[in-house]
């Protein structure tokens, strides 16, 4: 069983889908099996330079939000909470 890109259940909440994607596709392959909603994912090493793009692709392809270059930074992608906030903000527009 490989842990490459997982596709979370679309019926789950936005936050749950974000959490599940990060957990299965990014965290577990780095040996991390849990993290809080507010945990700093990059500082923890869960998201690395390649992970940033996999995450952005996930947000675009599965959550339907277009993320500008300017919005890809340590503040917006810091934690599950901030990523959820980004998605909600983009969808609201």
């Amino acid at each position: 069983m490989s842990t490459s890109n997982c596709v979370p259940n679309p019926h789950l909440s936005v936050k749950s889908q974000i959490r599940e994607f990060i957990l299965e596709s990014l965290a577990r392959p780095k040996g991390i099996s849990s993290f809080a909603d507010g945990a700093p994912l990059m500082e923890m090493g869960v998201i690395d330079s390649l992970g940033v793009f996999r995450l952005v692709s996930f947000l675009e392809e599965h959550l339907g939000v277009r993320v500008d270059d300017q919005e890809i930074n340590l503040d917006t992608l810091r934690s599950v909470d901030t990523i959820e906030a980004l998605v909600i903000r983009k969808r609201g527009k």
Binding site: M1, P29, K30, E43, G45, S49, Q70, I72
Partner: protein, 528 residues
């Protein structure tokens, strides 16, 4: 000419006291401040009992204090050991013990995460982030205490160029990381070659992308100091985001960039990298792994006026060969050479008949000779004996050379070309990874009977890692559990991204695990 690293700083601080020396995370220090703080730190360390040759760990995410710490330790006559702030604490604890580190310069949260046994083995820790009032006095010292010590000069210490300056830990094939001992002379041989070849001046602005436990950073830090240039430390808030990184390179007017190829490839693919935007960039150096030609050609095209250099060399020698990209040859090349020996270094290839390769086309293992070569591994006489060997061609006195374990070919153009490894060491994002270290981590789990780590070639990072595992009868684990376990033993970049399970691992006719078969199976699975 400098014979110890701190003289590089001393000279530039005298010439350019008010010039910016180091920038990181929005803060900066001048040469005067760097010189004074490191003097103070050196006095503090000596007063607290750090004797010549003693090891001091540097253990926090990089910031301006990192450079103060490095210089402060060498000024005290000590040996600094940069510890990866992202490594599992168990591994950090192992290194602290293995190296006999007596003191740490660290951050409160990093220190708290270390286990009791490790903490009690340390004489003291200096915390870069704690306020004076909150220290307990004895074994925890706040950075603010530096102010109590003399700033105008370093303490007296008798050092020569053959004294150790730092120890860099790299992946070990027997399962544990090993410390490469590096003297002032080792470092300065490299720094002096760089200064002459790259003509770094006080007008230059160097980036520091590599972590401080990675020897690319030796160029970044010490060639900056040598020239009185400015160092811009690239921290994770920038390194992870190619667009922001490109912006920062432009905004800071970076003139010289040095990194592993994968960092450049990400910039190429995800940031608008072009000469117009990065007009001050005059030179790009890369090392650590093979740069795929298709990406190199793109880079060359986007940055026409920039000098591109491929630098090669293990931690044991720092850079020992170099190749300046000849743009007119790029279209026709399918492989970039590692080039020719740096000044004050000699390299030669030894073939299977134990002869030195002299003819074009000849292949052999690359050996390195000269003052850049390490004296060996900390507390590991056996490994040292294996890799740092007598030079049988030197009849006048005893001399050692380093066997790199890299297979090379001498080209028609007199450049060396890298062919591959003798053993199971791989590169991923420029990081040196012994597959054996990963296998040992897996095997250390009580449920695991057999384990093999396999490298899958990857365009961007060099290699990706999968593992194949067989459990003892009656037990099993989910891949995620085993990955989690690995995370407590080895750094994240070594953890297999996928684990396949078999009841038994396939064997060859001689009863050894059939790694070739497993490598093929794994490559096939990755393609799915």
């Amino acid at each position: 000419m400098a014979y110890v690293l701190q003289q590089l700083l001393q000279k530039s601080a005298a010439r350019y006291p008010e010039k910016l020396a180091v920038w990181a995370r929005g803060r900066s220090i001048t040469y005067r401040e760097l010189e004074e703080r490191s003097n103070q730190l050196a006095h503090l360390l000596q007063q607290r009992g750090v004797r010549k040759g003693e090891r001091v760990g540097i253990y926090f995410p990089k910031c301006v204090e990192s450079v103060i710490a490095m210089l402060g330790v060498v000024k005290a006559g000590g040996v600094y050991v940069p510890l990866d702030p992202q490594a599992p604490t168990e591994r950090v604890g192992y290194i602290i013990g293995n190296c006999g580190i007596c003191a740490l310069i660290t951050r409160a949260d990093k220190r708290r995460a270390l286990d009791k046994a490790t903490l009690s083995s340390l004489s003291f820790s200096i915390l870069i982030d704690e306020a004076p009032q909150s220290s307990n006095g004895a074994d925890v010292i706040p950075w603010g205490m530096l102010a109590e010590y003399p700033a105008s000069h370093a303490p007296r210490v008798t050092l020569t160029e053959t004294d150790l300056a730092y120890i860099l830990y790299t992946s070990g094939s027997t399962g544990r990381p090993k410390g490469v001992m590096l003297t002032h002379q080792n470092a300065l041989t490299f720094v002096e070659w760089c200064a002459a070849e790259f003509q770094i001046t006080s007008e230059d602005r160097l980036s520091n992308h590599a972590p401080l436990h990675f020897d690319l950073s030796v160029f970044d830090v010490y060639n900056t100091l040598e020239a009185g240039a400015a160092l811009y430390m690239i921290t994770e808030d920038l390194a992870l985001f190619p667009s922001r990184l490109a912006e920062a390179i432009a905004a800071h007017g970076i003139t010289v960039w040095y990194s592993v190829p994968s960092a450049l490839i990400l910039l190429l693919l995800h940031a608008d990298l072009n000469a117009e935007r990065l007009k001050r960039l005059r030179m790009i150096l890369f090392a650590g792994e093979v740069f795929p030609m298709k990406y190199l050609r793109q880079l060359a095209e986007r940055m026409p006026g920039v000098d591109l250099y491929n630098l090669y060399g293990p931690t044991e020698t720092n850079v020992c060969t170099y190749y300046k990209v000849e743009r007119d040859r790029l279209a026709g090349m399918d492989k970039l050479p590692i080039g020719i020996a740096c000044e004050n270094t000699e390299v030669f290839a030894v073939n299977d008949q134990n002869e030195i390769v002299t003819e074009a086309g000849g292949t052999g293992e690359l050996y390195v000779r000269g003052p850049a070569v390490t004296y060996g591994y900390w507390a590991d006489a056996e490994k040292t004996r294996k890799m740092v060997v007598p030079n049988t061609n030197q009849r006048n006195f005893q001399e050692k050379v380093y066997r790199t374990g890299d297979l090379v070919q001498l080209g028609q153009d007199a450049n060396y070309y890298f062919l591959g490894r003798r053993d199971s060491m791989i590169k991923s994002r420029g990081y040196r990874i012994e597959l054996g270290e990963i296998e040992n981590a897996l095997l250390s789990h009580p449920s695991v009977k057999e384990a093999v780590a396999v490298a899958i070639p990857d365009d961007i990072v060099g290699s990706r890692i999968r593992a194949v595992v067989a459990f003892h009868d009656g037990v099993s684990l989910a891949p995620a559990e085993l990955q989690h376990y690995c995370g407590t033993q080895i750094p994240k970049y070594m953890i297999p991204e996928a684990i396949d399970f078999r009841p038994e691992l396939p064997k060859t006719s001689t009863g050894k695990i059939d790694r070739v078969q497993l490598a093929q199976d794994s490559a096939h699975l990755t393609l799915k």
